[in-house]
Amino acid sequence: MKIVKPSAILLACLLGAGMSAAQAQEKVLRIAMTAGDIPRTSGQPDQGYEGNRFTGIPMYDGLTQWDLSSASKASVVIPDLALSWSVNDADKTKWIFKLRPGVKFHDGSPFNADAVVWNVNKVLDKEAPQFDPAQIGVTASRMPTLRSARKIDDLTVELTTSEPDSFLPINLTNLFMASPTQWAKKLAAVPASVADKAERSKQAWAAFAADASGTGPFKQAKFVPRERLEMVKNPEYWDARRRPKIDRVVLLPLPEASARTAALMSGQVDWIEAPAPDSLDAIKGRGFKLYSNLQPHLWPWQFSLLPDSPFKDKKVRQAANLCLNRTAMKELLGGLMVEATGIAEPGDPWRGNPTFQIKYDLPAAQKLMQEAGYSAAKPVHVKVQTSASGSGQMQPLPMNEFIQQSLKDCYFDVQFDVVEWNTLFSSWRLGAKDPAAHGAHATNVSAATMDPFFAMVRFVSTKAQPPVSNNWGYYSNAETDAIIEKARTTFDDKQRDALLAQLQARIIDEAPFLFVAHDVGPRAMTAKVKGVVQPKSWFIDIATMSLD
């Protein structure tokens, strides 16, 4: 029998103890996302804003970013990789961005004006070697007027838009800066036998996604498609206030709500997005913390204003808004909604002073309906297109059935046309006139309302009528268009916000929507996650959190 020396045993014990101590010391945060796959890691994430939340913001920076440091104030745009920006007074389509010096990508290469030009070209310049069609879908429409970028000097870059557009700095929060050097390395590694330029670029981007490099507070460490993404902290992150305290973040795609809840309960993960609503009491009862806050999100009915639609009459639109008991609906959802009284709620710089107040006022609603020519004996028949599920759709069927019952008191006879989520989404683009709308008088598609274009312009601008954008109901009003035009071409932030507030007040007065609810982005975590600030945003900053 071979005798093991005591010193060897001691050494093994020490090594083992050392290793387990090191493992125990590593602070690992495991997050279960609602996405079915890891959002793209190549710089322009997919999977909606959950992609920006989990692979965009932690691994990358943009020229501008959302301030995610407060749970009580509205989230606003602040400098990120750009220190400052200004529009050219003589030509309002030209912007100068001054870049932050000393920033490095995770691969050690410098961030500079060349990198900005390269990143703009990756989604806009079809001739650029790094052009990636897979990334333009989630980028081009989020900055629809951006046309090109030009280097002035190492730390100055000029961006050009197709028309004067003061929304550009807000849109740029969606353009994440990937490392050109890392991509060039991946391109060089593509076998020479692949001759086609587009195919080489595609393969280089696939390799980049597996070994991404940005400038963000976390670096990509391990990527298993559809299973997990691991990120480790970037101790050299340029912003000392956001230098991570958590060593490793593990992202797991778990699209099924009950599976996420079970994973939290069984200790498999520390944080779940959108827990199953009927498990909230159990989650809280087990000592987990539940976070939620108003999100820039609207769950509405968007009315058709076509000649055959009863909602063409403003009185009917306003009556519907006064007839809905949102407080009771909130109770139905276990408190996980904010009652919508517009697109932007009081306290938001875009709120404004509407003359029409959205609230539950049954007598006023009935009066308006009677003025419009309807009564219990002569109800108005309306059809609403909706889906049984979908991204951001909250609980569409119970919510719609609740509205159906509520509106009955105001002589509405509501019928639903329930279609599959992607079908509804396609139909939303095509507009109320299209056969895909099945003759509906309203559509129920929830929407992100983070920037002025997404929040308001696309719904009410005449220029945004289908097939251009999401003015599904063909709302058109010269005064509204004039405010939009003025807001777009006003480059002073405060003046622009004042105009947007004017626009929002007008939208509430005109009521092209049934304003129903805002989502609150519920997420549950173990109590050991500290420093959690859930801002009034779709996003959340993991970099400032810690683990016990």
Partner: protein, 317 residues
């Protein structure tokens, strides 16, 4: 036998072609926009057209079909719209995961199905028959996603014995046959095994009852053959049908586990199909359906051949 095999394989070819055509058409005639997953809500018409062209959706359907089939025959199922990864790699990795899970579920289901079936068949109308039949009826009737959730609530959330989701402690993405990985498979496999268990149990019970009532069994006993010897004859007579049923069940399990894989976040074909449907990722959806359908056809072929091996009368008929 070889002629039979060739003839049987020959029958499978037009079926596979038909299946390819159907799975291509089914996802195309479904309403909705295939680029919804990657285009934002306000995507301009120009951008939509550009992307349609890029992914080849601007071509006529026959053109798209033959192009797709030609590439599929060369092992290229296209690129996923949502992830830009090759569909072939995505599908085969998922097939591997589902295959492991389905095999485990099949083994459990076949073992307990046969056990309950034989017990019920041998001891008809006894309490053992009633218990075994009750379990088999439950196995067939209970909604399996519900059963999965109950398993998770009991064994993961409450007792914390087994992990609730995933296919392993993870990081590598590779499966290893050790307990650490196996415990991730247990809950979904047991849940899944209820389906074949119920069906096999019912089939075997009926077969055993029928065989035991046949004259040759009486003859065997009359010739003094012991119960063990009789049992072997019963097993041999049951085997072709039980195998056929099990083969079909394996086929169903490979393709029909969307709900169970979703509940347990098991990265197999069901989970992949779920994602492809929700993201309306047409190339991924088509590729996954095609591979699953071909598996099903191939399994049928294998089962037919095995049946013939066990019972040569089938070939003659």
């Amino acid at each position: 036998m070889i002629a039979y095999l060739l003839r049987r394989a020959g029958y499978a070819l037009p079926i596979m072609l038909g299946v390819s055509f159907l799975c291509f058409m089914l996802v195309h005639i479904a309403p909705g926009d295939p680029l919804v997953a990657i285009l934002p809500a306000d995507a301009s018409t120009e951008l939509q057209q550009q992307m349609m062209k890029l992914y080849g959706f601007d071509r006529s359907l026959p053109e798209q079909f033959f192009h797709w089939l030609w590439r599929a025959l060369h092992g290229d199922l296209g690129t996923s719209i949502a992830t830009s990864r090759p569909v072939t790699g995505e599908v085969f990795k998922a097939v591997g995961n589902t295959f492991m899970l389905a095999m485990m579920a099949t083994l459990i289901g076949f073992f307990f199905g046969c056990l309950f079936g034989f017990v019920a068949g041998y001891f008809r109308h006894s309490w053992a028959d009633r218990v075994a039949s009750f379990i088999s009826v439950i196995g067939v009737s209970v909604p399996h996603y519900w059963l999965g959730m109950v398993m998770v609530i009991v064994f993961s959330a409450k007792l914390q014995w087994l992990p609730a989701t995933g296919a392993g402690p993870g990081g590598s993405g590779e499966w290893t046959w050790d307990y650490e990985h196996l415990q991730y498979m247990l809950l979904p496999a047991i849940t899944m095994s209820f389906i074949p268990m119920g069906i096999v149990a019912r089939t075997v019970r009926a077969l055993v009852a029928e065989i035991l009532s046949q004259e040759f069994v009486v003859g065997l006993r009359a010739r003094g053959l012991g119960e063990y010897g009789v049992f072997k004859h019963v097993v041999k007579n049951c085997a072709p049908t039980a195998l056929a049923v099990m083969g079909l069940q394996l086929g169903y399990l490979l393709g029909g586990s969307i709900l169970i894989e979703t509940v347990f976040a098991w990265p197999g074909t069901g989970f992949l199909l779920n994602q492809a449907i929700f993201q309306r990722d047409l190339p991924l959806l088509q590729g996954t359906i095609l591979v699953l359908a071909l598996f099903f056809v191939a399994l049928n072929l294998i089962v037919d051949v095995l049946q013939t091996v066990f019972d040569p009368r089938i070939e003659r008929s």
